[in-house]
């Protein structure tokens, strides 16, 4: 599995770097610093006040640094609620995607049957679809999968008078979760199928001979051996689902259910000129994915390269 390190790069004797190599390091240092200006600038902004910035300019030495913007963003701007919503959507979606993809990946990797290659290519092609081709039908579908009895049920069991007699997938967490599961299944099936193919067939044959059921082979032998692959796609998928913007935009109308991406885009309209507050909110919103990335970097990079280059 690929990592961000380059283990087979020639190991240089650090004491004997040539002038050209020192210049390269210097260049890379300057380049990376310039590259990160927007991000570092946002961090710095989050610790300042807008008065200070508009009075003295962004590039001035900050008159004072403040932590005030963070609690403000979390509480008044509602970033904590948005973050919670993001988790409510991401965790079931991720679990569902991985479980269902592992089922189809197992079937595609381990059985010869009519249509195997066709289904595999269908999943691979699906990973590249532009979302726009799905937006309208998925929107309509979510509006048409409803529970009609919600009204009676609400009155009878919960004694809550519902205004709307129908509860639909539209404007529910489940609606967003379902489209994530379906859309992400293509990529996961692709990666996991290739991973499962690399497991030696003898292990499975031996289990079969010992009387293990097909489900037992999948659950007790193939799945444990696929864990590194699952870890890689899970870290990636967590980030992708967590960072989704468009599906929440299409399928949710109730602001209290918005995930953090959609919540943030609303902040800009609400607090137009308070950039320290907006950047503080953006940074808090980024924390979960940053933590996942730094903690599971190896898997993250591994998943990216597994999915595209072999």
């Amino acid at each position: 599995m690929a990592t961000i390190d380059t283990p087979n790069a020639p190991v240089l004797n650090r004491k004997r770097l040539t002038t050209a190599q020192w210049l390269t390091v210097l260049f890379l240092l300057v380049f990376t610093l310039i590259y990160m200006i927007p991000f570092l600038g946002a961090i710095l902004t989050a610790f300042r006040t807008m008065d200070d910035i508009s009075l003295n300019g962004f590039w001035s030495i900050p008159g004072e640094l403040t932590l005030r913007n963070f609690p403000e963003a979390v509480q008044r701007a509602g970033v904590s609620r948005f973050l919670l919503n993001s988790f409510i959507i991401t965790i079931p979606a991720l679990t569902g995607t991985i479980f269902l993809s592992s089922l189809s990946a197992y079937a595609l990797a381990r059985y010869k049957f009519a249509g195997n290659k066709f289904l595999y290519f269908m999943y691979v092609a699906g990973t590249m679809l532009p979302f726009q081709i799905l937006l309208l039908p998925v929107f309509l579908l979510s509006n048409n999968i409803c529970v009609q009895e919600a009204y009676e049920l609400g009155q009878f069991v919960l004694n809550v008078p519902f205004v709307d007699a129908k509860v639909c997938l539209y404007n529910s967490y489940l609606g967003v979760i379902m489209i994530h599961i379906a859309f992400q299944m293509g990529f996961c099936t692709f990666v996991l199928r290739n991973f499962m193919r690399s497991i030696p067939g003898e292990i499975m044959d031996a289990a079969r001979i010992d009387g293990s059921s097909e489900w037992g082979i999948y659950w007790r032998i193939v799945m444990p051996l696929t864990l590194p692959g699952i870890a890689a796609v899970s870290t990636l998928e967590f980030t992708w689902i967590f960072n989704d913007y468009i599906w929440a935009l299409i399928l949710l109308s109730d602001g209290r259910k918005f995930p953090v991406t959609q919540g943030l885009s609303g902040l800009q309209g609400q607090f137009t000129t308070d950039w320290p507050l907006i950047t503080a909110g953006a940074l808090v919103a980024t924390l979960p994915t940053l933590i996942v990335f730094f903690a599971l970097q190896r898997y993250f990079i591994g998943g990216l390269t597994l999915g595209s280059v072999k």
């Binding site: 390190d5 190991v11 590259y35 508009s54 079937a107 937006l135 579908l141 980030t239 994915t289």
Partner: protein, 317 residues
Amino acid sequence: MAIAQKEPLSVADAPVKVNKQKTNWTPYYFLGPPLFIYLIWIIGPVFYTFYLSLTDWDGISPRAEFIGLENFQKLFGSIGSVLPSAFEYSLYNNLVWLLVFITVPTAIGLGLAILLNQGLPGERMFKVGIFLPQVLSFAVIALIWSWVYNPRAGILNELLLIFGWPEDNLPGWLADKELAIWSVIFAAAWRQIGYIMILYVAGLKNVPPTLMEAAEVDGANAWQRFWRITFPLLTPVTTIVIVISIIDSLRSFDLVQIMTRGGPANSTSVLANLMYIQAFNNYKFGLGAATAVVLFAISLVFIIVYLWRVMQDELEF
């Protein structure tokens, strides 16, 4: 030892399952649940959008009128008028986006990957720094860059002032009709470079160091070694990088939606964004579906290239 004795016995006892006549239904049980969801949420909708694109549905009325290719005629007929239509802007912007994406991040990503493949000090830190934007959501990137581009006190214009740019002539960036699309694409490319770099870093592992050493011994300079050895060996990676860049450029929606909503005056409109506005802001479901079909048709060319590449991997087995 007991196990060793038992194993051959159980092999002999096991019924031989080579009855080829009978279909083995097991894979279909495993495929059933995921395929069911996939067909309803992904495959079905693709076809349904094609159907919608042939109607004039507004999303509200109970019946949709079948109008054939009228929506497409409307879209393509709008090209070439005195004032460019939103569709014309979108096509043009998608093309610009695509061309920038297949050249700039690819070249910079490859360059960085090569520089960062020599075991220099601090390599890991540089890679993490450049890859970081890839972890941020488009929503966060849109906010960060909106602040960078902010005409009043934003990071960029404040920097220009320091370098002596006349204060009454500062660029409007996202508010400027000419500059806006370039500003958005720049932010998108900023996110893309780290991804491309990582793909090339992985690809460079397949370039054997011995080959480079041999070439060096034979007197090939760094430039020759790159063009004659490294680059040709990276061809499979480059194919994937280009396809991914094209698909990503065609998918661009979030940045435009959050940073400019296609404005000012449609100048940053892209197909993905135009489709959303037609369908969900103007309730022209038929026209929106037609725009989605156009976008899909363009993507399909590259999806096929990608599938072809995956198919070649399959044949290697």
